[in-house]
């Protein structure tokens, strides 16, 4: 393994190293000084983030099991940014007395899952893919059950681990059938021989179900809300943003490369699932009072929108999905950041607690509003552009009615996002949450999210870069 290979795998290797460093520091620190881990880790992760941006061409390792190219690196960088924001936002929470001994656990588990996702993104065959998938899932279950004295957290953990085990089983069964019918687990080989036979369709559907579980598409989404609600808030935001984003990346890669020969068929599936996901997600989100659960369902609906981009099936679709995920990361982290800040300080997570928030915490309210507008796709914030491009790509495939349904769903989603806005700005409350000042890290995290929400849309360069990279892949 030479230096070039190191560069190629730098995301994964750096993270592994980081996890190890955290572990070692943790072992050597006295219990009282555990919180020093936080700034150190943050700093190191920031380095990792920067290193991730070193330009690097395409390359393959391990005989094609691992591959990389600028687009994939881009995806990883996007995830890194998201994780960095999450880390910033979780500082306050980690500093709490109850978590003192588990700080390093949090980091290590988080980094492990990120490694898993990176491997998954870079996978060149199903074996690597499966490894990455499990690496990305199992630690998250542990994270979900992080606050082990809370029943909800434990419930979230068991629901996640068992459902995901089931879904992995089904996914694996699909892979086994693919292997059986094609004789290979390498993406490149499979792409060439995959056909529209019933067995292979069956295999695809099994595989797709497993993947749908990851990005929580209806009807494979049911775990989402419970897990999101039960898990600690920062883990929830990680799940909803990073896990989902990574899964969306993989799905689009797999769909566009491995199963491209099935496009005619899977588009029908996607159509159906997209409509279901958007609608059901929205319908559930409408009634929620718990902010985490609310955002969970909203993120389900958002996943439905992602499918629109995949349906487009061209460069534009790919670009728009990646772009949307990027925007989505910022928007959702903005929202989750606010929920997290409030929840950490006051322990309140219900929408009713947000009544009159604007009077006491105007900045948080404004950021929350921007984030929600971004999620709803309202200009001038970035979400509008993200959604618009998704719709455009679906329309480019001729799916006008689907676009129509999607925009209607966006309207419904606007309804419940506005409910939160209403709570914060309009509802009167005798005893609104008291004013509080977040610490530096949280504020930095929120600020980055806010800036991202605001400027990503106007800054067309981002879209152009993604587009040019996608163009290379699709050729």
């Amino acid at each position: 393994m030479n230096f070039n290979d190191f560069l190629t795998m730098r995301h994964e290797l750096m993270l592994t190293l980081l996890a190890l460093v955290v572990l070692i520091i943790d072992l050597n620190l006295h219990n009282r000084h555990k919180h020093y881990i936080i700034p150190i880790t943050l700093g190191l992760f920031f380095v990792n983030l920067l290193v991730g941006f070193i330009p690097e061409g395409s390359n393959t390792l391990f005989g094609g099991m691992y591959r990389t190219n600028p687009l994939l690196i881009m995806m990883k960088n996007i995830l890194n940014i998201g994780v960095f924001i999450i880390l910033l936002q979780s500082v306050t929470w980690l500093k709490k007395e109850e978590n003192r001994e588990k700080i390093s656990e949090y980091f290590i588990l988080l980094f492990s899952t990120l490694i898993g996702m990176n491997f998954m993104i870079s996978s060149g065959d199903f074996l690597m893919f499966y490894l990455g998938l499990e690496l990305a899932t199992i630690p998250v279950a542990a994270l979900a059950a992080y606050t082990h004295h809370q029943t909800k957290s434990a419930e979230a953990g068991i629901k996640l681990i068992l459902s995901s085990a089931l879904s992995s089983g089904i996914l694996l069964f699909g892979i086994s059938m693919i292997y059986g019918s094609t004789g290979s687990i390498y993406f490149d080989t499979i792409t060439k021989v995959y056909a529209n036979t019933p067995l292979q369709l069956l295999a695809f559907i099994f595989f797709f179900s497993g993947m749908s579980f990851k990005i929580s598409l209806v009807p494979f989404h049911l775990w989402t809300a419970d897990v999101y609600e039960g898990a600690p808030i920062n883990v929830t935001s990680y799940l909803s943003v990073i896990s989902k984003g990574a899964a969306a990346f993989i799905l689009i890669i797999v769909m566009f490369t491995v199963f491209s020969s099935l496009a005619a068929v899977y588009k029908n599936i996607l159509y159906l699932i997209a409509v279901l996901t958007m609608t059901v997600g929205n319908l559930f989100a409408m009634r929620q009072k718990n902010m985490k659960r609310f955002l969970a369902f909203s993120s389900i609906a958002q996943a439905g929108f992602i499918l629109l981009g995949i349906l487009g099936g061209n460069v534009m679709g790919m670009t728009s999905v990646i772009y949307f995920v990027l925007v989505y990361i910022f928007s959702n982290l903005g929202a989750f950041g606010v929920v997290s800040a409030i929840s950490t300080v006051t322990g309140k997570e219900s929408m009713d607690d947000y009544d009159g928030l604007y009077r006491t915490n105007p900045k948080l309210s404004l950021l929350m509003m921007l984030s929600l507008f971004s999620l709803a796709g309202i200009p001038p914030v970035a979400g509008f552009f993200g959604k618009f491009f998704l719709f455009a790509s679906a329309a480019s495939g001729g799916y006008y009615w689907l676009v129509f349904i999607a925009v209607l769903n966006a309207t419904i989603s606007l309804y419940y996002y506005l409910l939160v806005v209403k709570a914060m700005f309009i509802n009167k409350n005798e005893t609104p949450l008291a004013f509080f000042k977040s610490d530096l890290a949280t504020r930095a995290g929120l600020l980055i999210a806010g800036l991202g929400i605001f400027f990503l849309g106007f800054w067309a360069k981002v879209y152009e870069i993604i587009s040019s990279l996608s163009y290379g892949i699709m050729q």
Partner: protein, 493 residues
Amino acid sequence: MLTVGAIMLTKDLKQARLASAIGMGIQLIMAAVLIYLYLAERSAGNTAAMLFTYDVVWFPTLNIHYSLGVDGISVAMIGLTGVVVFAGVFASWQMEYLPREFFISLIILATGVYGFFISLDLFTMFLFYEVAVIPMYILIGIWGSGPKEYSAMKLTLMLMAGSALLLVGLLGIYFFSNPDTNHLTFSIMEISKVNIPIGMQRFLFPFTFIGFGILGALFPFHTWSPDGHASAPTAVSMLHAGVLMKLGGYGAFRVAIFLMPEAAHEQAWIFLILTSISVVYGAFSAIVQTDLKYINAYSSVSHCGLVLFAVLMMNQTAMNGAIIQMISHGLMTALFFALIGMIYGRTHTRIIGEMGGLMKVIPFLGVVYVIAGLASLGLPGFSGFVAEMTIFIGSYQHTDVFHRVITIVAASSIVITAVYILRVVGILLLGPIKDHHFLELTDAKWYERISTISLVLAITAIGMAPLWLSNMINFSLAPIVERLSSIQITSLF
């Protein structure tokens, strides 16, 4: 030279009401200067379709531009917006609850509207459209009255549903904007040079038209309007009815009809029926309302129906009338809402039955209300007359009998309008004073006078000397009409 957008961005930073007043004053002057410059350019013989264009490539891969420019029509609309926003700021001078936020939202709303009118790119247009819609929710929800949350939600959702339709239409147009070379574009001017396949037009036109139509209170998608207007605070009602609803009419002809003329010709009759229902139906509904704002809201439904009606007539005169009607109705209805707000601020009721004889105690507002009423029922000397007459004459010049008959139907609204306007004036202002508390009311304050007088001036100016406006619009309409008339009309019936 023209970057209204840039000015508005800097203005967003200003916060106090004074700043927004000054800002909007500057904006108004800008609009006036713009109109002047525009006319100067035209008289200097510049015949380009769009003037003062400003074009930056935004998303090169999708060929999305940030493209601005004005023609006579948008200049006129900007003038309207300038006046209404200016008056709106003064009308809400005494906003007590969260004034800074109020003015910021108001300005964002205005930004959206300005942007919409000067956009030459469908993407930018859509963007500004949505920018204009969303602050409404906040404005109505926070500063409104009555069932404000319900109304705000209804308004926002219905308009967003409209934009759903619209988005489909726009995307469709985009993907068929240049089928041969695969070099797609959002630019209105470029799309107008190609012919979108007729099959697609048939599919996309209803989307686009209804999408804009919802904003223009097209029957049966108008119900957001009465509730929304009734609940909104004064300035918002003014801006909303005065300007925002005009986005619908403007978009309907600039996008729907201009870009898809064949389908427009084919399907016009359906929408003509709907709009003429709007016109008559809105007026009839207004007769029995008891809340001042509802009366005016239904009247807006009726008047805006007339705008869409005229747009669909698709001849130069009627469309010209439609644009004048937009401006005229914008001014009048803004004036109405301003007055209603002022009266409500004094009497604390909007139910006409509870008021009476106000002319005696607040003569200034009373007189202005009468003027507004007379303007609204189309009295010569005010802008409403010019607009309506242009529409009716233009529509009646149609060679098709159906169009002429339906013109008569629409024209009958002028009587109904007179009925409800006079009913209100009679009950509200005239007659004996109902409540002795009213005797203590004070007449308009200076800022209220500024607000109303600026609107009255605009209304009478157009009403007295409409020719320059009409000519300005006509010039810019000519290419549109030319495109429309170049289409082979295939069997209307």
